[in-house]
Amino acid sequence: MHPAPSVILFTALSGLGFGLLAFLGLGLPDVSGWVAFVFFFIAFSLAVGGLLASTFHLGNPKNAMKAFSQWKTSWLSREGCLAVASLILMGIYAIGVVFFDTKLVQVGWIAALSCIGTVFTTSMIYAQLATIPRWNHPLTSLYFLSLSVAGGALLAGQATAAGILLLIAGVVQLAAWIDGDKRFAQRGHTIETATGLGDIGKVRMFEPPHTGTNYLLHEMVYVVGRKHAQKLRIIAMILMVILPAALLLLFPAGHLLALIAVISHIAGLFASRWLFFAEAEHVVGLYYDKR
């Protein structure tokens, strides 16, 4: 799949933002006044910024309001609804904490739950697609959720919790890679099932339907850049998980250390998310004898 910067930014930033909001909703860290304002400002910027980034890849964004209507069947619609609900609930909680020094504990809990739910709906946009075997698995949801919670803990300054959660996210990431590598073959999609010609013999492309490129090839048969996938995986794992977890768990807490951990984590997260898209193979590639 084409790793469009808009979707990488959207999933990475909104995941971090909603993760941080969830921790703030639970009263971690226990802040109020201006300090709380700064925390909430960062969290809302990430979550809203991520959501706005997702509209950049729309062909026709003027209809965006209509995307709240089909929550009965569409995970994308559910995500939109839940994201707005989370932001409103958390907004109410934030106003209490920042301006009135009052904690609406129940509202905070519900809002935190709703934030995690939003990340889950984001993950389901990808995990629901049977056409992309690498994504079509519960590990996709675990990957999004574990990283969102770990990133949220990191930004919320919960050093020990963040270190442990990062390690858990690293294990999930590793499992998603190893299991995902095998899934296309496991599902049994081949050029023979795609064309139905397998009964006759071995099928291969003789002539493509068009000499140039098209939307399908550009969007779903993205084969550029997989060459360095293994190296990128190592880089992603070190920056996203190992370095920040080591800094958080092995050294005494400090602002500079936390800043390095955050920068490293976000850089690694972008690399991981780039791979999430670039390595995902869509079955339509079979009609072009490409994956």
């Binding site: 799949m1 890849h57 729309l58 062909g59 026709n60 964004p61 209809n63 965006a64 209509k66 995307a67 709240f68 209507s69 089909q70 009965k72 069947t73 569409s74 995970w75 994308l76 619609s77 939109g80 946009i125 629901q128 697609l129 049977a130 056409t131 992309i132 599902r187 049994g188 999609h189 050029i191 099932t193 795609a194 064309t195 139905g196 010609l197 009964d199 006759i200 013999g201 071995k202 099928v203 291969r204 492309m205 003789f206 002539e207 493509p208 339907p209 068009h210 140039g212 490129t213 098209n214 939307y215 399908l216 969007e219 779903m220 869509h282 079955v283 339509v284 009609y287 072009y288």
Partner: protein, 248 residues
């Protein structure tokens, strides 16, 4: 809107005969022509006369080579457009309700006024039947020429999809699969019409007729005895060479 109908009154669709398709791409062109001038946004082209032309098409013809174990390879031309699936994943993923399947005839359509161009329906389609138009920013797909098949301004003979009307090899057939006596139901039964990527459970309405098995040439034996080789074994210098090389 994006909930699939439990059942449709009719099941309109195509039968595509892989045995007779000659790969002329006439269906591709007639589809592009009709659907650029009629229903919805035109099918745009980008850099049409430049170095890297590309454009939106609702129907494309792939060509495959199939190599049986013991006989020569066969070329099979393979037209591909929307299969108007009964369990269309492209409909249920749509966040705005722009994508829908009609209860009356099962045609899968996009209401372009509601489409946000997110592309998720194209991602969910295993067959690459949907293309986001790069100029209009809305999703385009085969409409089964919904503006022809019910169009009383057209002569009756023209009230079928443009691709079917134009096919010079008669490789494309249009009809109602819900009616067991329709031309398409009969063809599917008689020729073993098949689904593409059945393992994904999309239940396509359109069916593909596999190429008929090739017959094998029987040896005609009347003249064969007369044409038997005169020398069964090589003699002379060649015979010596043969034996010498054999020994090496």
């Amino acid at each position: 809107m994006t909930q699939l109908p439990a059942q449709t009154t009719r099941k309109l669709g195509l039968v595509i005969d892989l045995d007779t398709c000659v790969g002329c791409h006439a269906c591709v062109i007639s589809c592009k022509g009709w659907n650029t001038e009629n229903y919805g946004a035109p099918l745009s082209d980008q850099d049409a006369y430049g170095a890297n032309p590309s454009g939106t098409f609702l129907n494309r013809v792939h060509s495959f080579e199939v190599k049986p174990e013991a006989s020569p390879a066969q070329t099979i031309h393979f037209p591909k457009s929307c299969l108007h699936c009964e369990d269309a994943p492209c409909v249920t993923v749509c966040p705005t309700g722009a994508s829908y399947k009609r209860t009356e005839d099962g045609i899968v359509l996009v209401n372009e006024k509601d489409c946000i161009g997110c592309g998720l329906c194209a991602w969910s389609c295993p067959y690459g039947a949907r293309e986001l138009d790069q100029t209009a920013g809305v999703m385009k797909k085969c409409t089964l020429c919904v503006d022809r098949i019910y169009n009383e301004n057209l002569p009756e003979v023209d009230r079928e999809p443009a691709c079917v009307r134009t096919c010079p090899a008669n490789a494309r057939h249009f009809g109602d699969f819900a009616d067991p006596d329709s031309n398409v139901s009969k063809l599917t039964r008689e020729r073993g019409g098949m689904d593409l990527m059945p393992e994904l459970g999309t239940n396509p309405v359109n069916k593909y007729l596999p190429p008929r098995p090739k017959d094998t040439m029987e040896e005609i034996d009347i003249l064969a005895p007369l044409l038997a080789p005169v020398a069964t074994e090589t003699t002379g210098f060649l015979g010596w060479l043969d034996k010498a090389l054999e020994k090496l």
